[in-house]
């Protein structure tokens, strides 16, 4: 139920508004965009194709956000562990309010 491929819209057909030509790594295929009728894709958009129909648009922004999240996985922890290196007895150094007093 689940083989769907990201593909880029390279051509639209004014005389057939639910037909589009997509490109996957240099291979071109005609697909049906009828399921995206409420927000039709434009040339250059990326869509998810399943059994010859576009199911959804792919959001570049969301994809980048996701990669960013994945890059940060473990970074927070790594940063804390680095800090912890300064005093093994006290894993994360804390700033005591009294250290800020000027009196």
């Amino acid at each position: 139920m689940c083989l769907a491929i990201p593909a880029r819209i390279v051509q639209l057909f004014p005389e057939e508004e639910t037909r589009a030509l997509v490109d996957v790594a240099g291979v071109r295929r005609h697909i049906d965009t009828g399921l995206l009728a409420e927000d039709p894709p434009r040339v250059g958009d990326w869509v998810l194709v399943h059994v010859g129909f576009a199911m959804s648009k792919i959001s570049e922004e969301q994809a980048l956000d996701q990669i960013q999240l994945l890059k940060m996985l473990g970074e927070e922890q790594a940063a804390l562990e680095e800090l912890a290196g300064y005093d093994p007895a006290d894993p994360v150094p804390r700033l005591e309010p009294s250290s800020w007093s000027t009196s």
């Binding site: 689940c2 009828g34 996701q66």
Partner: protein, 380 residues
């Protein structure tokens, strides 16, 4: 390939695997079910188990539309081919699935006109090109595929193409998940939600799983990073004692689903009162049939099909494997009477079936008792 390669980045995968190890509590055992057969296939194809600690078990769910089809429905479909005017079309996935009288490929070898299509639109085109023949399309799939069948039928009607009909075996995912949760033998901690079904139905339909059944569910993509990130998110929820619906596959899945797709489905299909699922018995409101307004395009109404219930061979444990109660290798027939070459049940044929996936990708690693990590070291 864009939107594919980024999600196979080795460094990020390593990162995610480390996070999984860190988040999982070594004192407990986790059982996560991936509902969708596409995820089962991906897990084996990418060797993702190599990245999980021992205490995380992935249980395969029943989301393989080919696997859950009872044998009798295949026989029903194939009887239509005895009419010489019929061109019978189906996806490649179905061609080797055994009915009681043989698989579609076996019938084709005996002379039936059975052809593989890649889209219901191909089947409709065949009907247009062959006005003196009748084209039947064997429709299978969950809500991912149903909208495409629906749209094709709407087009057939709009264009007045009457030498075309659909044999609908579309099933819906929520009743399957409910059946799993209602099953007394199951203990599932959390779910990897079906990514492509959700592009159609959105994420709301899963809210009862989080709220009423108190299980975390994260809708997941299919690339290695998607699946690993989903597991991170599930572990985080469990660590924080939460249970909610999250969308890991946000680049593709809209929370509200695809309205146009749902509209097309509603116009063409209605819910059958009940439908038989292999190994799970009859489940109410779990499958789609064509509405009265599309009776002329309903293969079930145009052809008289025997509708015979065919029970699986007694020794085959397809049902238990489908529900995740048994692992493929625990079925008595696995690897002996039932292999991809001579499959007894659809789970060994369908590329999504857990038996086939396990057999093709994993089984011999186990037979040779090799540590996956050792295999990786040997080539590095």
């Amino acid at each position: 390939m864009k939107y594919v390669d980024e999600f196979r980045d080795p460094a990020l995968i390593s990162n995610a695997a480390a996070e999984i190890r860190r988040l999982s509590d070594p004192r407990r055992a986790y059982r996560f079910m991936e509902v969708c057969g596409g995820h089962t296939h991906a897990i084996y194809r990418f060797g993702l188990k190599d990245f999980l600690p021992e205490n995380i078990e992935l249980v395969h769910g029943p989301g393989c539309p080919v696997c859950v089809l009872p044998m009798g429905r295949i026989d029903d479909a194939l009887t239509m081919t005895s009419d010489p005017s019929v061109i019978f079309t189906a996806f490649g996935d179905m061609m080797r699935v055994p009915g009681a009288q043989g698989s579609p490929l076996a019938w084709k070898a005996r002379g039936s006109d059975i052809r593989i299509v890649y889209s219901p639109a191909d089947a409709l085109k065949l009907a247009e090109k062959n006005p003196d023949r009748h084209v039947v399309f064997f429709a299978i799939g969950f809500e991912t595929t149903a909208p495409s069948t629906a749209l094709t039928l709407l087009r057939a009607r709009a264009r007045g193409i009457t030498n075309f009909s659909v044999f609908s075996n579309h099933v819906t995912i929520i009743p399957a998940i409910r059946a799993i949760l209602d099953s007394p033998d199951m203990r599932i901690d959390a779910f990897l939600g079906p990514g492509h079904v959700s592009t159609v139905i959105g994420c709301r339909p899963y809210e009862w799983i989080a709220r009423n059944e108190r299980r975390p569910i994260v809708v997941s993509g299919f690339e290695p990073l998607d699946i690993l990130q989903t597991i991170v998110m599930l572990l985080r929820q469990m660590k924080d004692g939460e249970s909610k619906v999250e969308n890991q596959y946000a680049r593709v899945v809209p929370w509200e689903g695809n309205r146009a797709a749902l509209k097309a489905m509603a116009e063409v299909f209605n819910l059958r009162p009940y439908f038989e699922w292999r190994g799970m018995g009859f489940i109410s409101q779990s499958a789609l049939g064509l509405r009265e307004t599309f009776a002329g395009w309903d293969a079930e109404r145009r052809f008289s099909i025997p509708g015979v219930r065919v029970t699986d061979p007694k020794a085959a444990q397809c049902g238990e494997v489908l529900k995740g109660v048994l692992k493929p290798a625990q079925c008595k027939l696995f690897g002996k009477e039932c292999t991809p070459e001579r499959p007894v049940g659809a789970l060994m044929v369908s590329s999504e079936g857990s038996c086939a996936a396990y057999y093709n990708y994993e089984h011999r690693k186990v037979l040779a008792q090799i540590e996956p990590a050792a295999a990786v070291r040997a080539i590095a």
